[in-house]
């Protein structure tokens, strides 16, 4: 309601419009003038016209000059501007303290790179076999049976098992595939002839393993005389030509036709060596003993793979088929209590060890072990990073003071320190990624892997990002929260002193670092000692200059006597022999031996090796008693040579001349040899009997004439063999090399442990070095004063080093029992093991102390030698 006495007011809409477009700093005077003018105009021309006039005046101000806003007097930065200054300050600090930055970033980058390598390795191990699409539906049929009171677990199954599973439990399985063992076979096409590893398998296998067919179809294996080749093999034989329909010859007698080519299987598949697949039936029909085996439940010589039907449960099926063998065997075999079960594909690689019927893990232990080591190395690097960042940031207390005085809020300081540590960690991450890329080939060599960085995996990036954030936040947390809490006045006045206990967390972290390092050193020494211990074990024969030809050498067997004479006359070999197992393996175990004084009725297995007369002389076994086989005695065809382990087991006092019954025949023991280490050098030697067999052996062993040079002898041997056995490539292996391979796993672990222990120590020392130099710098004045008062360099050195030595000593007292506990358990795994002696601990303790002193001394001596005039001048 308008009051009559109220002054007339100008149009409100016009006012609002004006207030909207006129720049705020002009609003007051313009609006004031307009209102005054309006009042004046009302008096002059009346309200109505004045209102019109008002509009006209208002619109007059629609000009850039009145609309343009004044530039603000103070800048209004957006948040990123502040971040940019943080980054700039951080970079300047990095450049200013080059030494610290290098140590800090370098140490963390090494740690990160190691963690990444280990992570990739673990990923590879854990994703083993996942190439196969039906990964979680595939299983291997295994059986357990009693052998000498122990439950033995094996993946060798009898042939009739397959048919029985098919008829009795067929609905539980999608595929059942009977297979031989993947091994070397001679594969020939035209004039090309190489040894390729492959297997004979039933036709369900391409489907089961979801082979990616490059040419032909998965049904190719159903054709009678067919063969499927891996892509690389097909290329090696046929180049660019179409391999389909080409003729090949397997093992010099089976003619096959290529019906398919599949993509090579990756290195992290259990079937990685499967370079060709030939039809199972072709194999079975090629040998009489195989045809006979179709009915034999006691010939455990074949592998049975299954793929489950879609709707069934692995464990349920496994329980279902448990008694399938027992139901079909006679009473005698049933005594062994054979149980059948399924081992899922996901567990083949990582859980392959069994002890008395219980799965005891296997490679998975190493996966966790290395995971642990990787985590520890990373932890060390992070600790370093944190220690150095915090130590250095104390020097920045003044900066914090000034920032606070100028008006920084605490949250700003916190975000400054966080952004700084995140920047450094990001730099480090890039560096680590680069070094991993560079190191990967070498690492693959050591670890026997084909790893690549998972550039395209989102999980990898997420994990990396998470890690960068985590490290950055942890490392930045101390300066962020502690330093930002300082009172500006105190800091700037100079009365601020880091508390007495400011160094305590740092010291604890150093102790942790050295605990881990010393533990790793002790571990490495013990692993290498164990390997050396096993290597030094007497093997019972001589490996030097011994070579073996690994395949069924029927042509060689046919001309054995001629070849032998010819080679010996040519001076190439000292002796040669045939045998059922190579000198580095024990391929056959048989039951049914009985002797007088036998203490048990149980079926016990003996390693059985059929050899030719010359075997002993070739390998150089050593007799404890009795004599070697000899062609001079016709009766030696039913003679046995035993090893010490067998004699011990049988409990014979005077073994030589005793008779043993086996397979309805009476065998006379003619000699006892020292145990020959043919299998794992960590296991006790198995009881073994050696017998003469004039049939063809699996392996031909030759001892090169020690007086001939090896390459010359090899070429002579090759020439002679070509003459009599033209169809066989000259693929030989040195026994000492084959024996050395038995240490492969342990050596690999030893090497990796050595590498990681070295890195751990390196990182710890880097940190120590940085800390020591920081301490020395902080105490510059103290040192100066002490020097003026007459302290010697030695005094000062011990003053500065004492603290660190104490930390290492504490770390050692923690590390020693920890290391002992873990390694003691690790060694228990080996039957034949080294002892953990006290000197290992002493040596690593002294070693760690020496390294520490060396690291710290560099800094402390430098500080102690400094001229006090210089350090005190600034006061």
């Amino acid at each position: 309601m308008k009051r009559p006495d109220a002054l007339p007011t100008p149009p409100r809409v016009a006012d609002r419009l004006l207030s909207w477009f006129v720049a705020p700093h002009l609003r007051e005077e313009v609006l004031g003038d307009l209102h005054e003018e309006f009042a004046w105009q009302v008096a002059r021309i009346g309200e109505r016209w004045a209102r019109w006039r008002y509009w006209w005046d208002v619109l007059g101000f629609v000009k850039p000059r009145f609309i343009r806003r004044l530039n603000p007097k103070y800048s209004t930065p957006n948040p990123t501007d502040m971040l940019r200054t943080y980054l700039k300050i951080a970079l300047r600090h990095l450049v200013k303290n080059k030494g610290y930055s290098a140590i800090n970033i370098g140490g963390l980058a090494v740690g990160m790179a190691v963690a990444m390598l280990i992570g990739l390795w673990m990923y590879d191990e854990l994703s083993f076999n996942t190439y196969h699409q039906h990964y979680d539906r595939i299983a291997l049929v295994m059986q357990q049976q009693l052998e000498a009171g122990q439950i033995a677990t094996n993946n060798a199954t009898p042939m009739p098992l397959e048919a029985t599973l098919r008829t009795e439990y067929g609905e539980s399985f999608k595929h059942i595939v009977l297979a031989s063992w993947t091994g070397g076979h001679i594969l020939a096409a035209g004039d090309k002839k190489f040894t390729e590893t492959g297997n004979y398998m039933q036709p369900g296998v391409p489907d089961m393993l979801s082979l990616k067919m490059r040419k032909g179809t998965r049904d190719g294996l159903r054709e009678p005389a067919s063969i499927l080749l891996a892509e690389s093999v097909a290329k090696a034989y046929f180049g660019e030509a179409d391999p389909i329909g080409q003729l090949m010859q397997l093992d010099n007698k089976l003619d096959v036709r290529v019906t398919g080519v599949y993509q090579d299987l990756p290195a992290n598949s259990s079937f990685r060596d499967l370079q060709f697949i030939a039809p199972w039936d072709l194999y079975v029909n090629s040998k009489d003993w195989l045809i006979k085996s179709k009915q034999l439940w006691d010939n455990n010589s074949f592998q049975t793979y299954v793929q489950l039907a879609d709707n069934v449960d692995m464990a349920a099926v496994s329980a279902q088929i448990k008694g399938v063998k027992r139901a079909h065997v006679d009473a005698k075999l049933a005594q062994q209590k054979p149980d059948v079960f399924l081992q899922p594909m996901s567990r083949w690689h990582l859980y392959s060890e069994w002890k008395n019927g219980v799965n005891t893990g296997g490679r998975i232990q190493y996966v966790w072990l290395f995971g642990l080591i990787g985590a520890f190395v990373l932890l060390l690097a992070c600790i370093n990073f944190m220690n150095l960042s915090t130590a250095r940031s104390e020097k920045r207390a003044k900066e914090v003071g000034i920032r606070k005085a100028v008006g920084s809020v605490r949250t700003q300081l916190i975000s400054q320190f966080f952004s700084e540590s995140l920047l450094v960690v990001t730099l480090t991450f890039v560096l680590a990624l680069l070094s991993v890329q560079l190191l990967l080939p070498a690492f693959n060599e050591i670890a026997d892997k084909q790893l690549t960085i998972l550039w395209s995996s989102p999980a990898f990036w997420l994990l990396s990002l998470g890690f960068v954030l985590l490290t950055g936040l942890i490392a930045g947390s101390y300066p962020a929260f502690y330093l930002s809490s300082f009172q500006a006045v105190k800091v700037l006045k100079g009365t601020f002193r880091a508390g007495r206990f400011a160094a305590v967390p740092r010291q604890v972290l150093v102790i942790i670092q050295f605990t881990v390092s010393v533990t790793l050193i002790i571990g490495t020494i013990i692993v290498f000692r164990q390997i050396q211990f096993a290597k030094d074990r007497p093997v019972g024969y001589s490996r030097a200059g011994l070579i073996m030809l690994g395949m069924t050498q029927e042509d060689v067997h046919a001309h054995f006597a001629t070849i032998r004479t010819e080679l010996i006359q040519a001076g190439a070999v000292a002796e040669m022999a045939e045998s059922g197992s190579p000198a580095t393996g024990l391929w056959s175990t048989q039951n049914g031996f009985s002797w007088r004084g036998e203490s048990t009725d149980e079926q016990v297995g003996f390693g059985t090796i059929f050899v030719s007369h010359e075997f002993g002389k070739t390998v150089g076994w050593q007799f404890n008693a009795g004599r070697d086989f000899s062609r001079a005695y016709a009766t030696d065809s039913s003679a046995m040579v035993l090893n010490e382990a067998a004699v011990r087991f049988m409990g014979l006092k005077n073994p030589v001349g005793t008779f043993v019954k086996w397979e309805g025949k009476s065998w006379k023991i003619i000699g006892v040899i020292k145990d020959m280490v043919m299998e794992s050098p960590y296991e006790p030697v198995r009881r073994t009997v050696y017998m003469i067999n004039n049939g063809s052996g699996n392996v031909v062993t030759l001892r090169i004439n020690p007086n001939r040079n090896v390459p010359g002898a090899l070429s002579t041997i090759e020439g002679v063999l070509k003459k009599y056995a033209a169809g066989i490539p000259f693929d030989y292996q040195f026994v000492d090399q084959a024996y050395a391979q038995k240490f492969g796993d342990e050596e690999r672990i030893g090497n990796l442990a050595f590498l990681f222990a070295g890195l751990a120590i390196f990182i710890s020392c880097l940190g120590l070095f940085g800390l020591a130099s920081f301490m020395a710098e902080q105490r510059t004045k103290e040192i100066g004063v002490r020097k003026v008062l007459g302290a010697s360099v030695l005094n000062l050195w011990s003053l500065l080093s004492r603290d660190f030595v104490l930390l290492v000593v504490i770390a050692f007292t923690v590390a020693a029992p920890t290391a002992w506990y873990f390694l003691h358990n690790w060694l228990l795994k080996y039957e034949y093991r080294t002892t953990i002696s006290w000197w290992i601990f002493a040596a690593s303790g002294v070693g760690a102390l020496l390294v520490t002193l060396l690291t710290v001394s560099f800094q402390s001596i430098r500080a102690a030698l400094m001229n006090p005039v210089k350090s005190l001048r600034s006061e």
């Binding site: 002054l7 005077e29 004031g32 209102h35 003018e37």
Partner: protein, 129 residues
């Protein structure tokens, strides 16, 4: 702030070259100088004064523009005055002529007088004849 500095420097530039004032700006400056004597040199007052003295129908926005320009050139300075009721409680921006402004006015005056003098001197005898 920045704009201010720039305009200052521009003012100096003009100063060096002897500032040229437009006719309208000169009138505004002169009027402001007169009104400033009673401390009444602000937008509306100057408008009315010019209206009265010259009979020109000037608009408020023109006066404001001219005053701003003069301020940018450094010839006037301003401060906020007191609020009044008819202005709805808003303050006036009161202008005073700076020394530089006064000198400029005087220079203009001198130039004109000189020119007038030269024009009038020959005319006078003609007139007296």
């Amino acid at each position: 702030m920045a704009l201010h500095l720039i305009s200052k420097s521009r003012a100096n530039q003009y100063c060096m070259k002897r500032t040229y004032l437009g006719e309208f700006e000169e009138v505004v400056l002169l009027t402001a100088a007169v009104l400033a004597l009673q401390d009444q040199a602000y937008g509306v007052a100057i408008t009315h004064e010019i209206n009265e003295q010259t009979g020109r129908a000037v608009r408020l926005n023109q006066i404001h523009t001219a005053l701003q320009r003069l301020e940018e050139k450094g010839m006037v300075s301003s401060h906020m005055g007191d609020p009044t009721a008819e202005r709805g409680g808003r303050r006036k921006r009161l202008f005073t002529v700076t020394a530089y402004g006064q000198r400029t006015l005087q220079e203009i005056q001198t130039v004109r007088t000189t020119l007038w003098d030269r024009l009038l001197a020959p005319l006078i005898p003609t007139l007296s004849v």
